[in-house]
Subunit: 413 residues, 2 copies
C-alpha cells in the first residue's frame, strides 16, 4: 500500500514572529499520524501573498495532502482565502449556508452582522465548504489531480472541532487509509531508560508489524503500540503484546487510555466513594488546580488548605508547634501531621500534603533546594515519601505534583 | 539599510509527528525579531538526510541566516551533524576543547565518557565550535558567501543559553544589525478592540518610524512600540509616545516591562508591606498556584483555603449557612463573606475570594455556566465583581484568575 504524505502549513505573522506558540501543527500531526498519514514537513509563513502561494505550490509538489490553518479572519491582514482563490483560479461567491450560519452566530450574541463579517460568507466557487460550528470562518476543501487541500481557521478549538467532526473522517474515506490500531499505556514514577531496561526482553521479541514508541513528559512515560492491517487480526496481535508489557511494568501503569493522571485519580475516588482534601505548601495550590481541572471533581474533592506560613500550618491544619520547631516545616513529621490535619479538619476520607523547598531561595546544606516531602493519610495509615529534585522552581512544582498523584494512586485502599 | 532574512529550521521526528510541542522556534523568532532580523519561514523536518539537505539548500537560497535546532544527540537517529558536514563538504575531526568539555561534564556527574558520547567531540573542520555550557552537544557556526548557518541542540535551555551568551551577540556584530528599541506596555481588563478604539487618535499620529503591535492573550493585551535607528534619538522618540499612550490607557496598564501580572501584584504587596490570602472555589487553587509560581512569594502570601464544598465554606471560612441558603454559593453575598472570612482566619491584610460555575455542569437558567463572582477585602472595604464568561471550563478558570489579579491591582490601598 502506497503511503500518503502531508504538508502542514500554519499561516500568520503572529506565529512567524514568535508572538504566539503554534500548538495547531502539533495537534494536527498527531491526528494525521494516528490515521497513518505521514508528515513530510511543517511550515509557518506570514500573512503575505507571495509566501503563501509559494509554500502551497511547494507542498502540492511534495505531498498528497496539504492542511493549512490560519489567516481566515475578517480583517484585512488575513489573506489566506483570496490567496487560495487565486491559486485555484476560483471566484469568491456568496454562500447562502455560510451567510445563514453567520447571521445566527451574531444574533445569538445579540450583535449585528456588519459588512466586514459578511465577507466571511464569500467562498471560492471551486471548493467544498466546511461549516464552522464554533466560530465565523468556514473551512475550505479543494481537490486537484487527486491531491487534497484543506484550509481551516487558526483558532485551536474551532480547528479541532472541524478536524474531528468533518475533515479526519473525510480524509480516511478519500485516501482509503489503512486501519491503524493504537494502544496507549501510560506509566508514572519510572524514568524512560529504566522502563526501557525493564521491558527490553519483551521489546526484542515484538513482531515486526508492531511498532513501539516511548513518549516521555515530566514524571511520566507513555508507551504507544501501533500496527496497521486487517482489523481483527492486528487488534488481537497488538492487544496480546499490550497484555504482556502491562504485566511486566504493572506497578507503574495507571491508564491504558489517553487520560491524564488527575482524571484517573478522580475515577478511582468516585468508584470507591471516597473524598479527598489537600494541604499544600511548596506546590502552592498546583495539585488542587490539577484535581479541579477535571469536570465533576466536586463529587470527590472537598477542598484544600494552602499553608505557606508556619502559622497557617499550626492554626488551620493543627501541626504542632513542637514538631515545626524540632524537625522543621520540610520534614517527614510535619508533612504527616499536615496530611492528618487536613483530613480531620475537612472531614474527608483521604488527606494529602506537600512540603518542600521549591527554590530558588530557601535551601540549606542539610535541606538543599529540591528537598520535598509528600504524604498520604487515610483512616488506616499515614505514609510519607521524600523527593530529591533539581534547582528549577517550576519543574520542581510540577514533578512534586506528579509524584503526589502517583502516591495517591499507590496508596488508595 | 538592507533587511536581513532568516530561516528557522527545527529537526526531529518527535516534532514532525507531534509527539512534543516545538517551543524553540517561537523563542528564536521572538529573539531575532528583537534585533531586527526578519523571519522568512519556519520549517520542521524529520531526522532524515534527504529532507535535511533539501531544506538547508532552500533556506540558503532564500535567507541570509539559517538557524537550526535539534538532531545533535549522541544516538544514531540524530544526524544533523553528518548532514551539515556533507552539505559543506567538511570532514569530522576530533576537537580537543569539546573533548575536554565532555570529560568534565561526565566526571562531574560521576560517570565515564563512553564511545557513543565521545562521538560528540567530532566536529566538521569548516565550522566554528560553539561550546555548550549546559549539555553535551556543541553548536556549530558555518559561513558561506556572506550567509551564516548555525546548528544548535534541541534541548530548550541549552539552546537558549547558547543563543543568549554567544550567537545573538555574534549575529548582531556579523550582520551589523541596527539598534532596535522596544517598549512593552502591558494592559489587563480591556479587550483588544476596545483598547484600539481608546487609543486610535494617538495611533493615527504615530511617527512613521514607530511601529505598534497588539499582542493579546487571555484577559490581557500587550502593546509593543518598536523603532530602529540612532540610539539616543529613537529612545527619546519611542519613550515620548509610550508616555502618551500610558496616559490614555492608564487605568488598564499594570507594567511597562515583560512581567506577568502575578509578579507585579507580588511587588505591589511587598512595597506596601501587606500579606494576602485566598478563598478559592471555582478556580480550585489556580490563582494561588499563579501567585506562588513567583520566587519569594512566601514574603507576602500566607496561604489559602480552597472551598469546593459548602461545608468547607462554612467551617473554614465562616460563611453563614443562612447566606448560602438564601443566596447560594455563587452570589455577591457569599463571595464577600468568603473574602472576609479568609482574611480573618488567616490573619492577613488582604482576603480574596472566587466562586462561580466553571462548567461544564452545574448551570441553571438564572446562573448559567460562566457566572462567576470575585471579591476583594481589606480592613477598610470589601468589594465584589460579577463576571459572565463562556462555556469552557479551562478558559473560565484562567479568565477568572486574570480578572481576580486585576481586581487586586485596582483595589490595593
Amino acid at each position: 500500500m502506497k503511503s500518503i504524505f502531508a504538508d502542514v502549513i500554519t499561516i500568520g505573522d503572529e506565529i512567524l514572529y514568535g508572538q504566539i506558540t503554534d500548538t495547531n501543527s502539533q495537534w494536527i500531526s498527531e491526528e494525521l499520524d494516528k490515521i497513518g498519514i505521514k508528515i513530510s514537513r511543517k511550515t509557518s509563513v506570514g500573512d503575505n501573498e507571495t509566501d503563501i502561494l509559494q509554500i502551497v505550490k511547494e507542498a502540492e509538489f511534495r505531498s498528497d495532502l496539504i492542511l493549512i490553518t490560519g489567516g481566515l479572519g475578517p480583517t484585512s491582514d488575513d489573506i489566506t482565502k483570496p490567496c487560495l482563490a487565486k491559486y485555484f483560479n476560483s471566484k469568491l461567491i456568496l454562500n447562502q449556508d455560510v451567510l445563514k450560519d453567520l447571521q445566527e452566530f451574531f444574533s445569538k450574541r445579540g450583535r449585528e452582522l456588519n459588512e466586514t463579517n459578511k465577507q466571511q460568507a464569500y467562498i471560492p466557487d471551486l471548493c467544498k465548504v466546511i461549516r464552522n460550528n464554533y466560530g465565523t470562518a468556514p473551512g475550505m476543501w479543494f481537490q486537484r489531480n487527486g491531491k487534497v487541500f484543506v484550509s481551516m481557521p487558526g483558532v485551536p478549538f474551532e480547528m479541532k472541532a472541524m478536524m474531528t467532526e468533518t475533515i479526519l473522517p473525510q480524509l480516511k474515506y478519500y485516501f482509503n487509509t489503512p486501519f491503524i490500531y493504537h494502544r496507549i499505556i501510560k506509566t508514572i514514577g519510572i524514568g524512560e531508560s529504566f522502563l526501557a531496561d525493564k521491558i527490553k526482553d519483551w521489546e526484542n521479541t515484538l513482531p515486526a508489524q508492531v511498532k513501539l514508541a516511548y513518549l516521555p513528559s515530566i514524571g511520566e512515560v507513555k508507551l504507544r503500540l501501533t500496527a496497521s492491517g486487517e482489523e481483527a487480526m492486528i487488534k488481537s496481535l497488538v492487544d496480546k503484546e499490550a497484555t504482556k508489557v502491562k504485566e511486566l511494568a504493572k506497578e507503574y501503569i495507571y491508564a491504558d487510555l489517553e487520560e491524564p493522571i488527575e482524571k484517573v485519580i478522580g475515577e478511582m475516588l468516585k468508584n470507591r466513594g471516597l473524598t479527598i482534601s489537600f494541604a499544600e505548601s511548596c506546590t502552592g495550590g498546583y495539585v488542587s488546580a490539577l484535581i479541579t481541572s477535571v469536570a465533576g471533581s466536586s463529587e470527590y474533592f472537598t477542598g484544600s488548605v494552602i499553608a505557606y506560613s508556619n502559622k497557617v500550618k499550626e492554626n488551620q491544619l493543627g501541626v504542632k508547634a513542637e514538631t515545626l520547631k524540632t524537625y522543621g516545616a520540610v520534614s517527614e513529621e510535619t508533612v504527616k501531621e499536615m496530611a492528618e490535619g487536613i483530613r480531620n479538619r475537612f472531614n474527608s476520607d483521604i488527606g494529602i500534603a506537600t512540603s518542600g523547598i521549591a527554590g530558588p531561595g530557601g535551601g540549606t546544606p542539610e535541606k538543599p533546594v529540591g528537598t520535598i516531602w509528600i504524604a498520604y493519610s487515610d483512616k488506616h495509615k499515614t505514609v510519607a515519601r521524600k523527593l530529591l529534585l533539581g534547582k528549577l522552581r517550576d519543574i520542581n512544582i510540577k514533578q512534586t505534583a506528579t509524584a503526589t498523584l502517583n502516591l495517591i494512586r499507590q496508596s488508595l485502599p
